[in-house]
């Protein structure tokens, strides 16, 4: 069998005495949406940060496209095709939606050490950026500054930026966070469309979205993966229900 797109082998991370990631191993295959769920404080975002390169694990290995990337910087991993969206929207506020996406295109195509030609008039950059915006349904708002977009639209932009990087794998940290029901519906549709073309590691609280989208689900609790399986299998797993789902349903 071919090596998975992304593979974590025995990752560990502690802050002081607190173990936030404990012997985590999981894989992401091409064309798969693999959801990562777990109660608040389970260590989901810390794990995403280690995969993207914002945090260094204490031990363990991260393999991407068959190579060890554990020691590579965030920028280098991104250049290899590992794109990340942020839990708290992270865009360039004064840039238009189009320029935000164009910056991502620019990062993956040719040198950015070009000094004289106005970047805003580079058709190749703008076309690819516009294509990414169209894919997430943000094309009509392309020329508004990111700061003027609604929260849901900024989540879409976040996704468009990740797509504009022409990535191999997407790390999506709560793409639905803070969106209303209609916006969430639209984002779920978009994500389902993307799932076949990339490997997506999806951290999400919205269980409806997780079970609608994911082919596989891993459950994280207190830094450890306590179960991995199909959505149906996870839903039925008594350990998971005890650790997590019961509590969540009780709230909802």
């Amino acid at each position: 069998m071919a090596e998975p797109l992304l593979e974590l082998r025995g990752l560990n991370k502690s802050f002081g005495g607190l173990r936030v990631t404990e012997n985590v191993s999981l894989t992401l295959e091409a064309g798969e949406i693999h959801a990562l769920i777990g109660p608040n404080g389970a260590g989901k975002t810390t794990l995403i940060q280690q995969i993207s390169g914002a945090l260094a694990p204490d031990s363990g290995e991260i393999r991407f496209l068959g190579e060890d990337v554990t020691r590579l910087s965030m920028a280098r991993r991104a250049r290899r095709g590992l794109a990340r969206s942020f839990q708290i929207t992270s865009v360039i506020p004064s840039f238009s939606a189009l320029e935000n996406a164009a910056l991502a295109v620019q990062a993956r195509s040719g040198s950015s050490f070009r000094f004289f030609r106005p970047a805003a008039r580079e058709a190749a950059l703008n076309e690819a950026a516009m294509a990414a915006l169209e894919e997430v349904g943000l094309a009509p708002r392309a020329h508004l500054p990111a700061a003027a977009l609604s929260h849901g639209e900024r989540r879409q932009l976040e996704l468009a930026i990740a797509l504009a990087m022409r990535p191999r794998a997407l790390l999506l940290d709560e793409p639905l966070a803070g969106t209303g029901p209609e916006e969430a519906e639209r984002l779920i549709r978009i994500l389902r469309g993307l799932g076949a073309r990339y490997g997506i590691l999806l951290v999400e609280h919205d269980m409806r979205a997780v079970f609608a989208l994911a082919q596989r689900v891993s459950v994280l609790a207190q830094g450890r993966v306590i179960a991995t399986g199909s959505p149906a299998g996870i839903r039925a797993d008594p350990v998971v229900r005890a650790a997590y789902l019961g509590e969540e349903e009780g709230e909802g």
């Binding site: 991104a78 620019q106 040198s111 000094f115 805003a120």
Partner: protein, 307 residues
Amino acid sequence: MTWRDAALPAGVFAALALAPFLGFGQSHSLTLLARAMIFAMAAISLMLLVGGAGLVSLGHAAMMGVGAYAVVVLDHARITEAWAVLPAGVGATALFALATGAIAIRTSGVHFIMITLAFGQMAFFTASSLALFGGDDGYTLYGRTEIFGARLLEDRLAFHFACLFCLVAAWALVRALLASRFGRVLRAARENETRVRALGLEPYPYRLAAYVIAGAIGGLAGVLLANATEFVAPAYLAWQRSGDLLFMVILGGLAGPHGALLGALAFVLVEEWLATLTEHWRLIFGPLLILCVLFLRGGIAGLLGRG
């Protein structure tokens, strides 16, 4: 493109070009205008750092100083040909910017402010200790830079237009840089560094390149300043002058290089005017500065843009 990005500076440049023929042709006026244009160049280069890259340098006067001292060193060796002086001045400053920037840009925020200040001071004290070039007292040039052996710049009008040419070039360059792919990375990293890293772009080399380019333009301004006064002293590198430059940039506004242009012209002219009123003009200038920073948030360019 809004009108203030291009039309406003075009108007200012036209006014500067016409000034000598509209009653500002006396030696005193031309000296003042040359000074204003030279500082405007330096302020525009600093604007690339502050407004473009978000790097608040409090050591930019050192860039002008290195450029000016390159003229001194060559003058001492009786080399005054522009084709030697200009590359030497600009090159020396770029090298100085590369060496100090390589360290300074590893830091950010207040650390960056303090480190650029410290490197500026280092250059200042070094200049003061160069007894060969007059030490604290400074150095009087044998003559202005020559072009193909012709003493063209001795003519005040010719010098006026040389300064104007360099100023327009600096403005156009910084404007183009900010709009380019390179400038886009700089601006993005100023607003959201993590996002830029997540895109696969490491801000450091872009910032360092901006620092070197800004230094080189500042060095060119220094070469011109040495020529304008035919005298160079360590005071050119004093940290107060770096503060002045920073104020010019903020006074003008950070919306584009035209802001720095307006800020520098306003600064030099107001300074000159106040100095004719009283010996203690700084007592008026200081509070004025504080009030401008407190209330004039978009700078002069912002004020004009609203109207």
